[in-house]
Symmetry: C2
Subunit: 351 residues, 2 copies
């Protein structure tokens, strides 16, 4: 369904459906952060953002924090969005009550911020969170295996976020080959940067891991942004603004298309088609973007970037959201167009 | 099939089939150690010993070490026996070749002595070790979950050795309830001693763990001896002789029978019936023992014991092995009666 049109430029253009940012990492759950982050989404071609339930400053692990985040977002977000909730070692029962008001239950293991360190705590979340609602985890290594086992024992689908290691992707591929209902995403940064470029940045894959990620491309369900761009900036000692890393997503992937490592359909599958199915997202009929294939992006726009000095091929030319032309050739144009909260209805529509 | 006979004493006696020591821990794989250990087995009512593939001084992780251990055992063991082999991070292919010459493949994670620390290494052992041959592991916590997941993905039975924690037993019980083909044993010492008695002895259960083990008794397939008695002696700074802990097995369990916490059938199921099925062991028709119910064992026989000063009710009166009366009322009587090596034939017989 991709149509090729020449449009106001010497570059080949393509129309794509509005993209889905499945792992939107906020600095905090404030109106300003949500407004700024979603501006970046629109400028980058994402018309739907699934906010992660953890930020640099707080988490959504109970009714009050979720309600407060939703209030902050109201009439402030520039694209559609939902909020997920975070599992902890003490909220099995209270969090399950929020299942119809959130995009998914997220089992977050980084820095052990959830306090979950027993298999039985994972099991108890799986018992209480409804079977029909999505569960996502960033578990790695043996913790990932625990989560997969419990998902399997509870006959439930699970989505694994931001896979970086060779072992983890191979375990998931094995699980898929054995028909376990598991899906996963890889952060776009993990496809283009490694620990070899940034020694000590253990949140990135090694070069060997990255080769494995690319060789298992056919199994990767979604591409994500997540927290890796911000963590890389922090790791290298740079201050970056809210939504850092979002605008680089499409140009990085289009550069891989340019090099023949991906097809444009590979990109659309992983930023739109699969995310929409996996997370049961609503239709956004009057939304979409136009990209320019092979257009070289100017590098060094002031803010620090691991891409400074590198050439990217391909850019977002224009974005339409809810029938409005909200972005064109570098300029945002909102006229009080706001995205809506789909936390409550994302699954109800599609069951 | 238990028959009650009064015999030369005022105590009630019972005839039991020759018991199976499913986890026999040697100080080393020498003739002397094997001879001494199996004497203890006979005196304790065990007519079959499955030697663990790790000892205080060495492991059986290749062809040569297995051959050497078998040579040491020849005409030296006082009961029947087999040797298992140990998986490592480098022997996936070579160890699989030994499957018909060993009692099982053992995935040993204590102290990371196997070097296995990637899920893919476990997966590769499961791919190469034949489906029909037993696999045992002492994995705990998330590593246990990884092993269970991979066993499940490879559609294979697995036996979990020496379960001590509440979380682990509950995970296994959940797996059993969901029809995963998993069996497990609990060390007899874990049923009677805790970290509360020996602060810092992390190889023992806590009091809370131990309560869970007892409450899940119906799910426990086997009782074992393993390395815990020796480790407890070491932990408390005592030197003990080879086979330490073996003779206490039956009196400890019979004391629990005396207290009404176990039935005699519970004991026979877990020291004979289930082990024989799970590890596909040969018949030992002319072997068995006679126990004296409620007979108080004299405590403090010279060697250190955590039981010194405590009363145990129930003892082994006599043992028959391969038609010979090899033990009677405290006296061993061998006349060059030797156990045979069933490493190679243990599974072939019963498939
Ligand atoms: Zn704005
Ligand atoms: Zn806990
Ligand atoms: Zn080109
Ligand atoms: Zn409108
Ligand atoms: Zn002897
Ligand atoms: Zn490894
Ligand atoms: Zn009594
Ligand atoms: Zn004979």
């Amino acid at each position: 369904s991709l149509s090729s049109v020449d449009y106001q430029s010497s570059f080949q253009t393509e129309n794509l459906p509005g993209l889905i940012n499945i792992a939107a990492y906020l600095p905090e759950f404030s109106s300003e952060a949500i407004s700024d982050y979603t501006e970046e989404c629109i400028a980058a071609g994402f018309t739907m953002a699934r906010f992660l339930p953890f930020s640099k400053k707080g988490v959504l692990a109970d009714k009050d924090s979720l309600a407060s985040a939703k209030k902050s977002a109201l009439d402030k977000a520039h694209c559609d969005y939902n909020f997920s909730v975070m599992a902890s070692s003490v909220n099995e029962e209270t969090i399950a009550d929020l299942n119809t008001e959130s995009g998914c239950l997220y089992l977050h293991f980084e820095n052990n911020s959830s306090g979950i360190n027993h298999v039985t705590e994972i099991a108890s979340h799986f018992s209480l969170w409804p079977q029909t609602q999505a569960v996502v985890t960033d578990a790695k290594s043996t913790t990932l295996a625990s989560v997969l086992l419990l998902a399997s024992l509870h006959n439930r689908r699970i989505h694994i976020a931001s896979v970086t290691s060779k072992d983890d992707i191979n375990l998931i591929v094995l699980a898929k080959q054995k028909s376990l209902p598991v899906t996963f995403d890889v952060s776009i940064y993990s496809l283009f940067f490694t620990q070899n470029d940034y020694p000590g940045a253990r949140f990135l894959p090694t070069l060997e891991d990255q080769k494995e990620l690319w060789s298992k491309l056919e199994y990767i369900d979604c591409f994500s942004i997540g927290s890796i761009p911000v963590r890389l900036a922090e790791f290298t000692g740079h201050k970056v603004s809210t939504g850092y890393g979002v605008r680089e997503a499409v140009p990085l992937l289009l550069s891989a298309v340019h090099e023949g490592r991906l097809s444009l359909n590979d990109v659309v599958d992983r930023l739109y088609t699969n995310p929409k199915i996996i997370f049961r997202l609503h239709d956004q009929d009057d939304s979409g973007l136009q990209i320019e294939i092979d257009r070289v992006i100017p590098s060094g726009t002031g803010e620090w970037s691991p891409l400074a000095g590198k050439k990217l091929f391909g850019s977002v030319q224009s974005v339409k959201f809810d029938c409005h032309d909200v972005y064109f050739d570098g300029e945002l144009n909102f006229k009080s167009t706001y995205g809506r909260d789909y936390s409550s209805v994302s699954t109800a529509e599609n069951t």
